[in-house]
Amino acid sequence: MSVAAYGRLRSKKRRDRTMNILTFVAVVFFALLAIFPIWWIFRTSLMSSAEIYRYPPALIPGNWLFSNYEKTLEVFKFWKYLWNTMLIIVPSCLAGTFTATLCGYAFARLRFRGKSLIWALCIGSMLLPAMVTLIPLYIGWTRGLGFSDSYWPLILPYFCGGGAFNIFLIRQFIMSIPRELDQAATIDGAGYFRILFSIIMPAIRPAMIVVALFIFIGLWNDLLQQMIYINSSEKYTIALGLTNFRGQLKSDWSLTMAATCLSFAPGVIFYLIGQRYFVEGITLTGLKN
Protein backbone atom coordinates (compact mmCIF):
# COMPACT_ATOMS: atom_id res chain seq x y z
CA MET A 1 0.00 0.00 0.00
CA SER A 2 1.42 3.31 -1.04
CA VAL A 3 1.75 6.17 1.38
CA ALA A 4 -0.70 8.26 -0.58
CA ALA A 5 -3.33 5.53 -0.51
CA TYR A 6 -2.79 5.02 3.19
CA GLY A 7 -3.24 8.73 3.75
CA ARG A 8 -6.43 8.70 1.71
CA LEU A 9 -7.78 5.84 3.76
CA ARG A 10 -6.96 7.61 7.01
CA SER A 11 -8.53 10.84 5.92
CA LYS A 12 -11.54 8.87 4.73
CA LYS A 13 -11.84 7.26 8.13
CA ARG A 14 -11.63 10.64 9.81
CA ARG A 15 -14.19 12.03 7.38
CA ASP A 16 -16.48 9.10 8.11
CA ARG A 17 -16.23 9.72 11.80
CA THR A 18 -17.12 13.40 11.45
CA MET A 19 -19.97 12.42 9.16
CA ASN A 20 -21.25 9.90 11.68
CA ILE A 21 -21.18 12.45 14.46
CA LEU A 22 -22.96 14.99 12.27
CA THR A 23 -25.51 12.34 11.33
CA PHE A 24 -26.13 11.49 14.94
CA VAL A 25 -26.62 15.14 15.83
CA ALA A 26 -29.05 15.53 12.95
CA VAL A 27 -30.95 12.38 13.94
CA VAL A 28 -31.26 13.55 17.52
CA PHE A 29 -32.42 16.96 16.33
CA PHE A 30 -35.12 15.55 14.07
CA ALA A 31 -36.09 12.95 16.63
CA LEU A 32 -36.68 15.73 19.15
CA LEU A 33 -38.85 17.56 16.64
CA ALA A 34 -40.75 14.37 15.86
CA ILE A 35 -41.26 13.47 19.47
CA PHE A 36 -42.26 16.96 20.56
CA PRO A 37 -45.98 16.70 19.66
CA ILE A 38 -46.07 13.32 21.37
CA TRP A 39 -44.56 14.84 24.47
CA TRP A 40 -47.19 17.56 24.22
CA ILE A 41 -49.93 14.96 24.30
CA PHE A 42 -48.28 13.15 27.20
CA ARG A 43 -47.72 16.26 29.32
CA THR A 44 -51.35 17.24 28.68
CA SER A 45 -52.44 13.90 30.06
CA LEU A 46 -50.84 14.86 33.38
CA MET A 47 -52.35 18.33 33.69
CA SER A 48 -55.49 19.75 35.20
CA SER A 49 -57.99 21.08 32.69
CA ALA A 50 -57.21 24.66 33.68
CA GLU A 51 -53.48 24.16 33.23
CA ILE A 52 -53.91 22.92 29.66
CA TYR A 53 -55.20 26.26 28.51
CA ARG A 54 -52.91 28.39 30.65
CA TYR A 55 -50.56 30.95 29.13
CA PRO A 56 -47.63 30.84 28.75
CA PRO A 57 -47.90 27.14 27.99
CA ALA A 58 -45.83 24.91 30.25
CA LEU A 59 -43.51 22.36 28.71
CA ILE A 60 -43.58 20.32 31.90
CA PRO A 61 -46.73 19.86 33.98
CA GLY A 62 -46.79 21.75 37.28
CA ASN A 63 -48.11 18.80 39.23
CA TRP A 64 -47.72 15.42 37.64
CA LEU A 65 -51.32 14.34 37.98
CA PHE A 66 -50.95 10.60 37.56
CA SER A 67 -54.39 10.46 39.13
CA ASN A 68 -55.68 11.41 35.68
CA TYR A 69 -54.79 7.89 34.62
CA GLU A 70 -56.73 6.39 37.50
CA LYS A 71 -59.72 8.54 36.62
CA THR A 72 -59.34 7.58 32.99
CA LEU A 73 -59.32 3.89 33.74
CA GLU A 74 -62.62 4.26 35.57
CA VAL A 75 -64.32 5.35 32.36
CA PHE A 76 -61.99 3.98 29.73
CA LYS A 77 -62.29 0.24 30.21
CA PHE A 78 -58.91 -0.35 28.67
CA TRP A 79 -58.72 -4.12 29.05
CA LYS A 80 -62.25 -4.68 27.88
CA TYR A 81 -61.78 -2.41 24.87
CA LEU A 82 -58.46 -4.06 24.15
CA TRP A 83 -60.09 -7.49 24.25
CA ASN A 84 -62.89 -6.34 21.94
CA THR A 85 -60.40 -4.77 19.56
CA MET A 86 -58.42 -8.01 19.52
CA LEU A 87 -61.58 -9.94 18.67
CA ILE A 88 -61.67 -7.90 15.48
CA ILE A 89 -57.98 -7.58 14.80
CA VAL A 90 -56.74 -11.14 15.30
CA PRO A 91 -59.01 -12.85 12.77
CA SER A 92 -58.63 -9.90 10.41
CA CYS A 93 -54.85 -9.98 10.54
CA LEU A 94 -54.70 -13.73 10.04
CA ALA A 95 -57.25 -13.86 7.25
CA GLY A 96 -56.04 -10.68 5.61
CA THR A 97 -52.44 -11.76 5.53
CA PHE A 98 -53.29 -15.22 4.26
CA THR A 99 -55.61 -14.14 1.49
CA ALA A 100 -53.32 -11.28 0.47
CA THR A 101 -50.56 -13.86 0.11
CA LEU A 102 -52.75 -16.10 -2.04
CA CYS A 103 -53.69 -13.21 -4.30
CA GLY A 104 -50.19 -11.80 -4.41
CA TYR A 105 -48.90 -15.23 -5.40
CA ALA A 106 -51.38 -15.52 -8.24
CA PHE A 107 -50.48 -12.10 -9.59
CA ALA A 108 -46.74 -12.58 -9.20
CA ARG A 109 -46.27 -16.14 -10.45
CA LEU A 110 -49.21 -17.64 -12.28
CA ARG A 111 -50.35 -17.14 -15.83
CA PHE A 112 -54.05 -16.99 -16.46
CA ARG A 113 -56.59 -15.36 -18.68
CA GLY A 114 -57.73 -11.90 -17.62
CA LYS A 115 -54.75 -11.32 -15.38
CA SER A 116 -54.08 -7.74 -16.37
CA LEU A 117 -57.76 -6.85 -16.19
CA ILE A 118 -58.09 -8.20 -12.67
CA TRP A 119 -54.85 -6.53 -11.68
CA ALA A 120 -56.16 -3.23 -13.01
CA LEU A 121 -59.37 -3.66 -11.04
CA CYS A 122 -57.29 -4.32 -7.99
CA ILE A 123 -55.31 -1.11 -8.48
CA GLY A 124 -58.56 0.70 -9.16
CA SER A 125 -59.92 -0.32 -5.78
CA MET A 126 -57.09 1.59 -4.13
CA LEU A 127 -58.58 4.79 -5.48
CA LEU A 128 -61.77 4.58 -3.48
CA PRO A 129 -61.75 6.26 -0.08
CA ALA A 130 -63.38 4.05 2.52
CA MET A 131 -65.89 6.78 3.18
CA VAL A 132 -67.20 6.57 -0.35
CA THR A 133 -68.57 3.07 -0.12
CA LEU A 134 -69.63 3.46 3.48
CA ILE A 135 -73.33 3.88 2.81
CA PRO A 136 -73.83 1.23 0.14
CA LEU A 137 -71.82 -1.21 2.24
CA TYR A 138 -73.70 -0.30 5.39
CA ILE A 139 -76.98 -0.96 3.65
CA GLY A 140 -75.64 -4.24 2.33
CA TRP A 141 -74.42 -5.48 5.68
CA THR A 142 -77.45 -4.40 7.68
CA ARG A 143 -80.43 -4.70 5.36
CA GLY A 144 -78.95 -7.23 3.00
CA LEU A 145 -77.25 -9.61 5.41
CA GLY A 146 -78.91 -8.60 8.64
CA PHE A 147 -75.78 -7.80 10.61
CA SER A 148 -76.34 -5.16 13.21
CA ASP A 149 -74.25 -4.30 16.22
CA SER A 150 -71.81 -6.93 15.02
CA TYR A 151 -68.08 -7.24 14.37
CA TRP A 152 -68.55 -9.27 11.18
CA PRO A 153 -68.86 -6.30 8.81
CA LEU A 154 -65.47 -5.18 10.12
CA ILE A 155 -63.79 -8.58 9.96
CA LEU A 156 -65.17 -10.25 6.86
CA PRO A 157 -63.67 -7.77 4.36
CA TYR A 158 -60.25 -9.01 5.45
CA PHE A 159 -61.16 -12.49 4.26
CA CYS A 160 -61.22 -10.92 0.81
CA GLY A 161 -57.58 -10.21 0.14
CA GLY A 162 -56.85 -7.74 2.89
CA GLY A 163 -56.90 -4.71 0.63
CA ALA A 164 -55.21 -3.93 -2.66
CA PHE A 165 -52.19 -2.23 -1.11
CA ASN A 166 -51.31 -5.38 0.78
CA ILE A 167 -51.80 -7.59 -2.26
CA PHE A 168 -49.54 -5.20 -4.16
CA LEU A 169 -46.87 -5.42 -1.46
CA ILE A 170 -46.94 -9.24 -1.35
CA ARG A 171 -46.82 -9.41 -5.15
CA GLN A 172 -43.73 -7.21 -5.24
CA PHE A 173 -42.03 -9.43 -2.68
CA ILE A 174 -42.80 -12.68 -4.43
CA MET A 175 -41.57 -11.27 -7.72
CA SER A 176 -38.21 -10.61 -6.21
CA ILE A 177 -37.73 -14.29 -5.24
CA PRO A 178 -35.71 -16.07 -7.93
CA ARG A 179 -37.97 -18.17 -10.13
CA GLU A 180 -35.34 -20.92 -10.25
CA LEU A 181 -36.43 -21.89 -6.75
CA ASP A 182 -39.92 -22.86 -7.69
CA GLN A 183 -38.89 -24.20 -11.08
CA ALA A 184 -36.67 -26.65 -9.29
CA ALA A 185 -39.59 -27.66 -7.14
CA THR A 186 -41.81 -28.08 -10.21
CA ILE A 187 -39.35 -30.54 -11.65
CA ASP A 188 -39.52 -32.43 -8.38
CA GLY A 189 -43.26 -32.67 -9.05
CA ALA A 190 -44.52 -30.15 -6.54
CA GLY A 191 -47.88 -28.55 -7.36
CA TYR A 192 -48.53 -24.83 -7.29
CA PHE A 193 -49.94 -24.89 -3.80
CA ARG A 194 -47.01 -26.97 -2.54
CA ILE A 195 -44.69 -24.33 -4.00
CA LEU A 196 -46.68 -21.58 -2.35
CA PHE A 197 -46.73 -23.19 1.05
CA SER A 198 -43.29 -24.75 1.21
CA ILE A 199 -41.17 -22.34 -0.82
CA ILE A 200 -42.82 -18.95 -1.24
CA MET A 201 -44.39 -18.52 2.17
CA PRO A 202 -41.26 -19.22 4.20
CA ALA A 203 -39.34 -16.83 1.96
CA ILE A 204 -41.79 -13.99 2.37
CA ARG A 205 -42.74 -14.61 5.97
CA PRO A 206 -41.23 -11.25 6.97
CA ALA A 207 -43.35 -9.54 4.32
CA MET A 208 -46.43 -11.23 5.69
CA ILE A 209 -45.61 -9.76 9.08
CA VAL A 210 -45.41 -6.35 7.45
CA VAL A 211 -48.88 -6.85 6.04
CA ALA A 212 -50.19 -8.01 9.39
CA LEU A 213 -48.76 -4.87 10.98
CA PHE A 214 -50.42 -2.64 8.39
CA ILE A 215 -53.75 -4.36 8.97
CA PHE A 216 -53.26 -4.05 12.72
CA ILE A 217 -52.63 -0.31 12.64
CA GLY A 218 -55.36 0.25 10.07
CA LEU A 219 -57.99 -1.44 12.22
CA TRP A 220 -56.65 0.06 15.41
CA ASN A 221 -57.39 3.58 14.23
CA ASP A 222 -60.42 2.97 12.03
CA LEU A 223 -62.97 4.97 13.96
CA LEU A 224 -65.50 5.63 11.23
CA GLN A 225 -66.41 2.05 10.32
CA GLN A 226 -66.42 0.87 13.92
CA MET A 227 -68.63 3.76 14.88
CA ILE A 228 -71.14 2.91 12.18
CA TYR A 229 -71.35 -0.82 12.79
CA ILE A 230 -71.09 -1.08 16.56
CA ASN A 231 -73.99 0.12 18.70
CA SER A 232 -73.74 -1.18 22.22
CA SER A 233 -71.11 0.10 24.58
CA GLU A 234 -70.18 -3.43 25.73
CA LYS A 235 -68.83 -3.96 22.24
CA TYR A 236 -66.78 -0.78 22.12
CA THR A 237 -63.25 -0.90 20.78
CA ILE A 238 -60.25 1.21 21.72
CA ALA A 239 -60.94 3.69 18.92
CA LEU A 240 -64.58 4.06 19.96
CA GLY A 241 -63.71 4.25 23.63
CA LEU A 242 -61.43 7.18 22.86
CA THR A 243 -64.19 9.26 21.31
CA ASN A 244 -66.30 8.58 24.32
CA PHE A 245 -64.61 11.17 26.44
CA ARG A 246 -66.50 13.83 24.68
CA GLY A 247 -69.71 13.78 26.53
CA GLN A 248 -72.52 16.15 26.02
CA LEU A 249 -70.88 19.45 25.06
CA LYS A 250 -68.07 18.47 27.34
CA SER A 251 -64.54 17.60 26.53
CA ASP A 252 -62.13 16.62 29.22
CA TRP A 253 -58.89 16.82 27.34
CA SER A 254 -56.52 15.66 30.03
CA LEU A 255 -58.44 12.42 30.41
CA THR A 256 -58.75 12.05 26.66
CA MET A 257 -55.02 12.41 26.32
CA ALA A 258 -54.38 9.97 29.14
CA ALA A 259 -56.58 7.47 27.34
CA THR A 260 -54.69 8.21 24.14
CA CYS A 261 -51.36 7.51 25.78
CA LEU A 262 -52.73 4.23 27.11
CA SER A 263 -54.22 3.33 23.77
CA PHE A 264 -51.19 3.64 21.58
CA ALA A 265 -49.00 1.53 23.82
CA PRO A 266 -50.12 -1.77 22.25
CA GLY A 267 -49.47 -0.35 18.79
CA VAL A 268 -45.92 0.59 19.74
CA ILE A 269 -45.30 -2.79 21.37
CA PHE A 270 -46.50 -4.49 18.23
CA TYR A 271 -44.18 -2.34 16.20
CA LEU A 272 -41.21 -3.05 18.43
CA ILE A 273 -41.81 -6.79 18.15
CA GLY A 274 -42.37 -6.55 14.42
CA GLN A 275 -39.59 -4.08 13.72
CA ARG A 276 -36.89 -6.67 13.26
CA TYR A 277 -38.96 -8.55 10.74
CA PHE A 278 -40.33 -5.40 9.28
CA VAL A 279 -37.04 -3.89 8.27
CA GLU A 280 -35.30 -7.13 7.53
CA GLY A 281 -38.33 -8.37 5.69
CA ILE A 282 -38.08 -5.85 2.96
CA THR A 283 -34.32 -6.01 2.98
CA LEU A 284 -34.07 -9.72 2.45
CA THR A 285 -36.26 -9.92 -0.55
CA GLY A 286 -36.26 -6.41 -1.91
CA LEU A 287 -39.12 -4.25 -3.00
CA LYS A 288 -38.35 -4.19 -6.64
CA ASN A 289 -40.45 -4.31 -9.69
Binding site: M19, N20, T23, F24, F30, A31, A34, P37, I38, W40, I41, T44, Y53, P56, P57, L102, C103, A106, L110, R111, F112, K115, S116, I118, L121, I123, G124, S125, M126, L128, M131, V132, T133, I135, P136, I139, G140, P157, C160, G161, F165, I167, Q172, G191, Y192, I217, W220, N221, T256, T260, F264, G267, V268, L272, V279, I282, T283, L287, K288, N289
Partner: protein, 307 residues
Protein backbone atom coordinates in the same frame (compact mmCIF):
# COMPACT_ATOMS: atom_id res chain seq x y z
CA UNK B 1 -45.85 -33.03 -35.98
CA UNK B 2 -47.39 -35.33 -33.48
CA UNK B 3 -44.71 -34.40 -30.97
CA UNK B 4 -45.45 -30.73 -31.41
CA UNK B 5 -49.16 -31.31 -30.89
CA UNK B 6 -48.47 -33.35 -27.83
CA UNK B 7 -46.25 -30.64 -26.47
CA UNK B 8 -48.84 -28.00 -27.14
CA UNK B 9 -51.47 -30.13 -25.49
CA UNK B 10 -49.31 -30.65 -22.49
CA UNK B 11 -48.48 -27.01 -22.26
CA UNK B 12 -52.10 -26.00 -22.45
CA UNK B 13 -52.93 -28.58 -19.79
CA UNK B 14 -50.26 -27.15 -17.54
CA UNK B 15 -51.47 -23.70 -18.42
CA UNK B 16 -55.05 -24.52 -17.56
CA UNK B 17 -54.14 -26.13 -14.26
CA UNK B 18 -52.02 -23.08 -13.53
CA UNK B 19 -54.97 -20.87 -14.30
CA UNK B 20 -57.22 -23.00 -12.15
CA UNK B 21 -54.88 -22.57 -9.20
CA UNK B 22 -54.71 -18.84 -9.90
CA UNK B 23 -58.48 -18.54 -9.92
CA UNK B 24 -58.74 -20.46 -6.67
CA UNK B 25 -56.15 -18.15 -5.12
CA UNK B 26 -58.02 -15.17 -6.38
CA UNK B 27 -61.46 -16.16 -5.11
CA UNK B 28 -61.10 -13.95 -2.02
CA UNK B 29 -59.99 -11.03 -4.15
CA UNK B 30 -62.82 -11.61 -6.61
CA UNK B 31 -65.37 -11.61 -3.84
CA UNK B 32 -63.80 -8.52 -2.32
CA UNK B 33 -63.52 -6.61 -5.57
CA UNK B 34 -67.06 -7.39 -6.59
CA UNK B 35 -68.90 -6.98 -3.32
CA UNK B 36 -66.74 -4.54 -1.43
CA UNK B 37 -65.50 -2.29 -4.19
CA UNK B 38 -67.23 -2.35 -7.53
CA UNK B 39 -70.82 -3.13 -6.60
CA UNK B 40 -70.77 -0.40 -3.95
CA UNK B 41 -69.12 1.88 -6.51
CA UNK B 42 -71.92 1.14 -8.94
CA UNK B 43 -74.30 1.75 -6.08
CA UNK B 44 -72.72 5.13 -5.59
CA UNK B 45 -72.96 5.84 -9.33
CA UNK B 46 -76.62 4.88 -9.24
CA UNK B 47 -77.35 6.95 -6.15
CA UNK B 48 -75.57 9.92 -7.72
CA UNK B 49 -78.37 10.06 -10.29
CA UNK B 50 -81.00 10.47 -7.60
CA UNK B 51 -81.94 13.06 -5.02
CA UNK B 52 -81.76 10.52 -2.19
CA UNK B 53 -81.44 12.06 1.25
CA UNK B 54 -80.82 8.80 3.04
CA UNK B 55 -84.11 9.31 4.81
CA UNK B 56 -86.93 8.98 2.34
CA UNK B 57 -87.13 7.12 -0.97
CA UNK B 58 -85.00 8.44 -3.81
CA UNK B 59 -86.22 9.90 -7.09
CA UNK B 60 -84.31 9.57 -10.32
CA UNK B 61 -83.13 12.99 -11.45
CA UNK B 62 -80.62 12.17 -14.18
CA UNK B 63 -77.41 14.14 -14.15
CA UNK B 64 -78.86 17.10 -12.25
CA UNK B 65 -76.47 16.59 -9.37
CA UNK B 66 -73.48 16.82 -11.68
CA UNK B 67 -74.86 19.92 -13.34
CA UNK B 68 -75.34 21.53 -9.96
CA UNK B 69 -71.85 20.65 -8.83
CA UNK B 70 -70.31 22.32 -11.83
CA UNK B 71 -72.58 25.35 -11.96
CA UNK B 72 -73.93 26.45 -8.61
CA UNK B 73 -72.00 24.59 -5.91
CA UNK B 74 -70.34 27.21 -3.71
CA UNK B 75 -67.59 24.87 -2.50
CA UNK B 76 -66.39 22.57 -5.24
CA UNK B 77 -63.82 24.83 -6.90
CA UNK B 78 -62.14 25.81 -3.62
CA UNK B 79 -62.36 22.22 -2.55
CA UNK B 80 -60.53 20.84 -5.57
CA UNK B 81 -57.84 23.50 -5.20
CA UNK B 82 -57.44 22.82 -1.48
CA UNK B 83 -57.19 19.07 -2.01
CA UNK B 84 -54.62 19.27 -4.78
CA UNK B 85 -52.61 21.94 -2.99
CA UNK B 86 -52.57 19.87 0.19
CA UNK B 87 -51.72 16.66 -1.64
CA UNK B 88 -48.89 18.36 -3.52
CA UNK B 89 -47.30 19.82 -0.39
CA UNK B 90 -47.81 16.69 1.67
CA UNK B 91 -46.58 14.25 -0.94
CA UNK B 92 -43.52 16.35 -1.79
CA UNK B 93 -42.82 17.09 1.86
CA UNK B 94 -43.24 13.59 3.16
CA UNK B 95 -41.25 12.03 0.31
CA UNK B 96 -38.29 14.34 0.91
CA UNK B 97 -38.56 14.14 4.69
CA UNK B 98 -38.88 10.38 4.85
CA UNK B 99 -36.10 9.76 2.34
CA UNK B 100 -33.86 12.16 4.23
CA UNK B 101 -34.57 10.58 7.61
CA UNK B 102 -34.14 7.13 6.13
CA UNK B 103 -30.73 8.16 4.76
CA UNK B 104 -29.73 9.39 8.21
CA UNK B 105 -30.99 6.28 9.93
CA UNK B 106 -29.21 4.11 7.42
CA UNK B 107 -25.85 5.23 8.72
CA UNK B 108 -24.22 3.49 11.63
CA UNK B 109 -25.52 5.44 14.60
CA UNK B 110 -26.08 4.35 18.19
CA UNK B 111 -29.60 3.27 19.24
CA UNK B 112 -30.79 2.92 15.67
CA UNK B 113 -33.75 0.77 16.66
CA UNK B 114 -34.92 3.35 19.15
CA UNK B 115 -34.74 6.19 16.65
CA UNK B 116 -36.58 4.19 14.04
CA UNK B 117 -39.36 3.68 16.57
CA UNK B 118 -39.44 7.42 17.34
CA UNK B 119 -40.05 8.33 13.73
CA UNK B 120 -42.58 5.57 13.32
CA UNK B 121 -44.71 6.26 16.39
CA UNK B 122 -46.69 9.21 14.94
CA UNK B 123 -48.09 6.78 12.38
CA UNK B 124 -49.45 4.57 15.16
CA UNK B 125 -51.17 7.32 17.15
CA UNK B 126 -54.94 7.70 17.00
CA UNK B 127 -55.89 10.59 14.74
CA UNK B 128 -58.15 12.44 17.16
CA UNK B 129 -55.38 12.88 19.71
CA UNK B 130 -52.83 13.91 17.12
CA UNK B 131 -54.92 16.71 15.76
CA UNK B 132 -56.04 18.01 19.13
CA UNK B 133 -52.43 17.98 20.30
CA UNK B 134 -51.31 19.92 17.25
CA UNK B 135 -54.19 22.36 17.58
CA UNK B 136 -52.76 23.53 20.90
CA UNK B 137 -49.39 24.04 19.30
CA UNK B 138 -50.91 25.97 16.42
CA UNK B 139 -53.46 28.04 18.36
CA UNK B 140 -53.50 31.57 16.97
CA UNK B 141 -53.44 33.64 20.16
CA UNK B 142 -51.81 31.61 22.89
CA UNK B 143 -50.55 28.46 21.20
CA UNK B 144 -47.06 27.20 21.88
CA UNK B 145 -45.63 28.17 18.51
CA UNK B 146 -46.98 31.68 18.88
CA UNK B 147 -45.56 31.83 22.37
CA UNK B 148 -42.15 31.03 20.86
CA UNK B 149 -42.65 33.62 18.13
CA UNK B 150 -43.62 36.34 20.56
CA UNK B 151 -40.68 35.46 22.83
CA UNK B 152 -38.46 35.93 19.80
CA UNK B 153 -40.10 39.28 19.20
CA UNK B 154 -41.77 38.16 15.98
CA UNK B 155 -45.33 38.74 14.85
CA UNK B 156 -47.88 36.04 15.51
CA UNK B 157 -48.83 33.62 12.78
CA UNK B 158 -52.39 32.40 12.87
CA UNK B 159 -51.55 28.97 11.39
CA UNK B 160 -54.78 26.99 11.01
CA UNK B 161 -56.89 30.08 11.63
CA UNK B 162 -55.53 31.86 8.57
CA UNK B 163 -56.69 30.79 5.17
CA UNK B 164 -53.24 31.22 3.63
CA UNK B 165 -51.40 29.23 6.32
CA UNK B 166 -53.86 26.46 7.00
CA UNK B 167 -52.83 24.12 4.19
CA UNK B 168 -49.07 24.34 4.83
CA UNK B 169 -49.76 23.85 8.55
CA UNK B 170 -51.85 20.75 7.95
CA UNK B 171 -49.31 19.43 5.46
CA UNK B 172 -46.64 19.68 8.11
CA UNK B 173 -48.68 17.35 10.30
CA UNK B 174 -49.09 14.95 7.44
CA UNK B 175 -45.33 14.97 6.80
CA UNK B 176 -44.77 14.25 10.47
CA UNK B 177 -47.14 11.30 10.18
CA UNK B 178 -45.19 9.67 7.33
CA UNK B 179 -43.44 7.09 9.52
CA UNK B 180 -44.47 4.18 7.38
CA UNK B 181 -42.74 5.73 4.35
CA UNK B 182 -39.52 6.06 6.35
CA UNK B 183 -39.52 2.41 7.26
CA UNK B 184 -40.10 1.32 3.69
CA UNK B 185 -37.37 3.66 2.42
CA UNK B 186 -35.00 2.42 5.07
CA UNK B 187 -35.49 -1.12 3.97
CA UNK B 188 -34.96 -0.08 0.39
CA UNK B 189 -31.72 1.67 1.23
CA UNK B 190 -30.35 -1.39 2.92
CA UNK B 191 -31.14 -3.28 -0.20
CA UNK B 192 -28.93 -1.14 -2.45
CA UNK B 193 -26.05 -3.48 -3.31
CA UNK B 194 -22.98 -2.46 -1.31
CA UNK B 195 -20.63 -3.48 -4.15
CA UNK B 196 -21.86 -0.60 -6.29
CA UNK B 197 -20.92 1.89 -3.61
CA UNK B 198 -17.50 0.35 -3.07
CA UNK B 199 -16.78 0.37 -6.78
CA UNK B 200 -17.85 3.98 -7.11
CA UNK B 201 -15.75 4.98 -4.15
CA UNK B 202 -12.74 3.36 -5.78
CA UNK B 203 -13.43 5.58 -8.78
CA UNK B 204 -13.36 8.58 -6.49
CA UNK B 205 -17.08 9.42 -6.56
CA UNK B 206 -18.14 11.67 -3.71
CA UNK B 207 -21.13 11.18 -1.44
CA UNK B 208 -23.56 13.21 -3.52
CA UNK B 209 -22.50 11.54 -6.74
CA UNK B 210 -22.94 8.12 -5.20
CA UNK B 211 -26.40 9.11 -3.95
CA UNK B 212 -27.35 10.58 -7.30
CA UNK B 213 -26.07 7.79 -9.51
CA UNK B 214 -26.36 4.68 -7.35
CA UNK B 215 -28.73 5.06 -4.45
CA UNK B 216 -31.43 7.00 -6.23
CA UNK B 217 -31.67 4.77 -9.33
CA UNK B 218 -31.75 1.63 -7.19
CA UNK B 219 -34.47 3.15 -5.07
CA UNK B 220 -36.82 4.14 -7.89
CA UNK B 221 -39.16 1.13 -7.54
CA UNK B 222 -39.56 1.90 -3.86
CA UNK B 223 -39.94 5.60 -4.49
CA UNK B 224 -42.70 4.67 -6.89
CA UNK B 225 -44.51 2.52 -4.34
CA UNK B 226 -44.24 5.19 -1.66
CA UNK B 227 -45.26 7.91 -4.08
CA UNK B 228 -48.36 5.96 -5.02
CA UNK B 229 -49.19 5.22 -1.39
CA UNK B 230 -48.67 8.79 -0.33
CA UNK B 231 -50.47 10.33 -3.30
CA UNK B 232 -53.57 8.23 -2.87
CA UNK B 233 -53.66 8.74 0.88
CA UNK B 234 -53.21 12.50 0.66
CA UNK B 235 -55.73 13.02 -2.11
CA UNK B 236 -58.24 11.23 0.11
CA UNK B 237 -57.43 13.49 3.06
CA UNK B 238 -60.30 14.10 5.43
CA UNK B 239 -59.26 13.69 9.07
CA UNK B 240 -57.60 17.10 9.62
CA UNK B 241 -60.75 18.82 8.42
CA UNK B 242 -62.97 16.58 10.53
CA UNK B 243 -60.87 16.84 13.65
CA UNK B 244 -59.45 20.32 13.44
CA UNK B 245 -60.67 22.89 10.96
CA UNK B 246 -64.20 21.94 9.86
CA UNK B 247 -63.05 22.90 6.39
CA UNK B 248 -62.22 26.46 7.35
CA UNK B 249 -61.23 29.21 7.57
CA UNK B 250 -63.52 29.93 4.68
CA UNK B 251 -63.17 26.99 2.34
CA UNK B 252 -59.43 26.84 2.60
CA UNK B 253 -59.33 23.31 4.02
CA UNK B 254 -62.63 21.99 2.68
CA UNK B 255 -61.07 18.88 1.16
CA UNK B 256 -63.10 16.91 -1.33
CA UNK B 257 -63.63 13.93 0.93
CA UNK B 258 -64.64 16.25 3.76
CA UNK B 259 -67.04 18.01 1.42
CA UNK B 260 -68.52 14.65 0.57
CA UNK B 261 -68.76 13.71 4.25
CA UNK B 262 -70.47 16.98 5.05
CA UNK B 263 -72.98 16.55 2.26
CA UNK B 264 -73.78 12.97 3.14
CA UNK B 265 -73.78 12.96 6.92
CA UNK B 266 -74.42 16.53 8.00
CA UNK B 267 -76.75 17.83 5.34
CA UNK B 268 -78.33 14.54 4.25
CA UNK B 269 -77.76 14.82 0.54
CA UNK B 270 -76.53 11.37 -0.20
CA UNK B 271 -77.40 11.60 -3.90
CA UNK B 272 -75.43 14.78 -4.22
CA UNK B 273 -72.59 13.44 -2.09
CA UNK B 274 -72.41 10.41 -4.35
CA UNK B 275 -71.95 12.66 -7.36
CA UNK B 276 -69.11 14.40 -5.50
CA UNK B 277 -67.67 10.97 -4.79
CA UNK B 278 -67.63 10.11 -8.46
CA UNK B 279 -65.70 13.31 -9.09
CA UNK B 280 -63.21 12.42 -6.34
CA UNK B 281 -62.77 9.02 -7.93
CA UNK B 282 -62.14 10.53 -11.36
CA UNK B 283 -59.56 12.99 -9.98
CA UNK B 284 -57.73 10.21 -8.17
CA UNK B 285 -57.83 8.02 -11.24
CA UNK B 286 -56.35 10.79 -13.38
CA UNK B 287 -53.47 11.38 -10.98
CA UNK B 288 -52.78 7.68 -10.58
CA UNK B 289 -52.86 7.18 -14.34
CA UNK B 290 -50.39 10.00 -14.84
CA UNK B 291 -48.14 8.50 -12.19
CA UNK B 292 -48.23 5.07 -13.82
CA UNK B 293 -47.79 6.54 -17.30
CA UNK B 294 -44.73 8.54 -16.37
CA UNK B 295 -43.25 5.90 -14.12
CA UNK B 296 -41.39 4.05 -16.85
CA UNK B 297 -39.59 7.27 -17.73
CA UNK B 298 -37.82 7.35 -14.40
CA UNK B 299 -38.05 3.92 -12.81
CA UNK B 300 -34.73 2.18 -13.09
CA UNK B 301 -35.48 -1.41 -13.90
CA UNK B 302 -33.04 -4.18 -13.42
CA UNK B 303 -34.83 -6.17 -16.06
CA UNK B 304 -38.24 -7.52 -16.85
CA UNK B 305 -41.44 -5.61 -17.24
CA UNK B 306 -43.80 -4.81 -14.46
CA UNK B 307 -45.88 -7.91 -14.81
Amino acid sequence: MEAVNKLRKRRSRIYSSEARVAYICLIPAFVGLIFLTYLPLLGVLGISLTNWTGLKSPEFIGIDNYIKIFTTDPYIKDSIIATIYFAFLSVAGSMIYSLFIALLLNRKIPARGFFRAVFYVPYVLPAVAIYVGWSWLYEGNFGFFNYLLSELGLNKILFIADSSYVIPSLSLISVWLAGNLIVIFLAGLQNVPGVYHEAAEMDGANGWQRFRHITLPCMTPIIFYNLLLSLIANLQVVTPALALTNGGPGNSSRFLTYLMYDQAFVNYRIGYASATTVIIFVILAVFTLVLFKTSNLWIYNEGGDDK
